[in-house]
């Protein structure tokens, strides 16, 4: 009997294990080996840590990473600040009958691909775009202004792209919250702010944590939005990796950058979990 259940377990686990092995583990081992390879002065292939060393010795590389990580944190924070009131409104303020409808309305833009949505923003924001056209027409502007290709527009685009991944866990964790908890806290003498800080936020904490992790990781690894909306001055770390692989044909360097991105972002999330005293296991269930 025991043996049979074990075989059953393996059968069901096999596709997942295969998927992990073939698409995640094997390529990463290959990338890892690649990141440790280099050439000596004679052009011979050798084992070396040079690729990792150059990340720290060349200011441009680690500055790009620091910039990317800072902006990713900022995007995560902004996404949370914008999405939380929306999620709270949908789950607690509006009548239950409308909350499903509003949720769908919120998710609808995400049925369209990210590329199309980014182009939507570009149509609105570019020099000859809709907003400039309107402002000129109303006489508020004399010359069209370039609203695209700066950090502000890039962060806005990233926040917009990330909202879905914050909204879903927030809505689902707030939905499970008993309204009576809010009333009970109010009855026990808490002001609205205290209720929010001591009851609502702690209750939604697992949802906030999982939303924040997903948004942070996706933003850090995003290529499309920074590339299209950020312009030349808004260098994103993924663009560095892309440059190494495609522009410089330096696959070893690119592989090392990829590994560093994985390591450093995991480190940031670990630190974040420790600081907020959240548990990864609880956040993901």
């Amino acid at each position: 009997m025991r043996r049979e259940t074990k075989i059953g377990l393996y059968i069901f686990l096999a596709p997942v294990l295969m998927w992990l092995l073939l698409l995640i583990v094997v390529p990463h081992i290959d990338l890892f080996i690649m990141s440790l390879r280099g050439e000596d002065d004679l052009g011979e292939a050798i084992w070396t840590l040079d690729n990792y060393h150059s990340f720290f010795s060349e200011r441009i590389y680690w500055l790009t990473f620091a910039r990317t990580a800072t902006y990713a944190l900022l995007v995560t924070l902004l996404t949370f600040l914008i999405t939380f009131p929306v999620a709270f409104y949908i789950t607690k303020v509006v009548h239950r009958r409308y909350s499903a409808f509003l949720t769908i309305l919120l998710l609808m833009p995400f049925w369209v691909s990210e590329l199309v949505r980014v182009y939507g923003w570009m149509i609105l924001l570019r020099e000859s775009g809709v907003i400039n056209h309107l402002l000129l027409g109303m006489g508020l502007l004399e010359q069209p202004v370039e609203l695209l290709y700066n950090d502000v527009s890039m962060v806005m685009g990233l926040v917009y792209t990330s909202m879905l991944f914050m909204a879903v866990p927030l809505i689902s964790s707030l939905e499970g919250m008993d309204d009576n908890l809010i009333e009970a806290a109010h009855d026990l003498g808490a002001s609205k702010l205290t209720i929010f800080l001591r009851i609502v936020i702690p209750y939604a904490a697992p949802g906030i944590t999982s939303g924040a992790i997903v948004v942070f990781m996706l933003t850090l690894g995003n290529y499309l939005t920074p590339n299209l909306m950020g312009g030349k001055n808004s260098l994103w770390f993924t663009e560095q990796i892309y440059n190494q692989f495609i522009a410089s044909f330096n696959w070893n360097q690119g592989a090392a950058f990829g590994f560093l991105l994985l390591l450093l972002s995991s480190l940031i999330i670990w630190a974040g979990l420790r600081l907020s005293r959240q548990d990864l296991g609880r956040a993901l269930t």
């Binding site: 008993d178 009333e183 009970a184 002001s191």
Partner: protein, 361 residues
Amino acid sequence: MDVVLEIRELVRRFDTMVAVDNVSLEVQEGSFFSILGPSGCGKTTLLRMIAGFQEPTSGVIRIRGKDMRGIPPNRRPVNLVFQNLALFPMMDVAGNIAFGLKRKRLAAAEIGRRVESILERVGLADYGAKQVGQLSGGQKQRVAIARALVLEPSILLLDEPLGALDLKLREQMKIELKKLQSEVGTTFIYITHDQSEALVMSDRVAVMNAGRLEQVGPPRALYDSPASCFVAGFVGESNQFPAQIEEQEEKQIRVRTDTGLQLQATPMQPMERPECRLFIRPESIILQPEESLSGINRFTLQVKTILFDGSNTKVLATVGESEREIMVSLPQNRQFAHIGPGDRITAGVYIDACRCYPVHA
């Protein structure tokens, strides 16, 4: 005794529906007061207005003489124990109880002392560090009550807090709550649809129906002399018959029930029309009454079934030609232990135990 809560001509409307309709009542300091009514009678709305979650459409609520209009729930000297308890799942037991004290900005040492003393009072000493999820239903109950009581409110409101417990635990909690109330001396206002909870625990009970108060009084008064047709039917068990008045004297009427039974009965309210409703409690029907008794209606019962339930055993029987069954309590002295289905037995009921109320169309 002082009046802790005074309600005057309170009305609450929702759109076209009137949830609370012109309610006035007074609650004495330190008493256990119940509001009893079927679901949807407006008792929860009344409670929420006292707690401050809803504002009355009109009327006045005064607590210790102070008008409560416009005062939010967090500034009212009342605390509410919710129907589903609403314990905070992200805090341990001590955290739940300390929540209200922290809002009062008491010193940490003082908070710790009060939390411990209230936990001891409700019999949960050493439970402070437990998570809410680790507690049993009865323990959660006590934590919820402790969380409200620790703030020393003028009035503790309880919204059917025993509803979610199983029967045995409910019986036990009834007694515990009553005991706790007399120990702490806080005024309890207890909302329930369960008449036995209200009767067992309360000093006074207000019976509510369709937004109005039908009767306010001590449990025995409600049971012995119900003021209205609704109270007679809702409080305690009764055999009910639609009936017609055949003859009317000053303090006594002669009625014929729809089953054809003719009885002398007592009118509880002025009878303006011949239609009325007759109530007879199961325990007021006497089996084999002695010949010498006077002021009694006599009839013969045809026993159908015995519903054995220990001290609450009942006989289902029919009278005359009708198939309608009436319930009769069986005395506990085993005098009638031999009765079985199919037996015929004489029975009687005192005229003043046959209560008649006018029927409102």
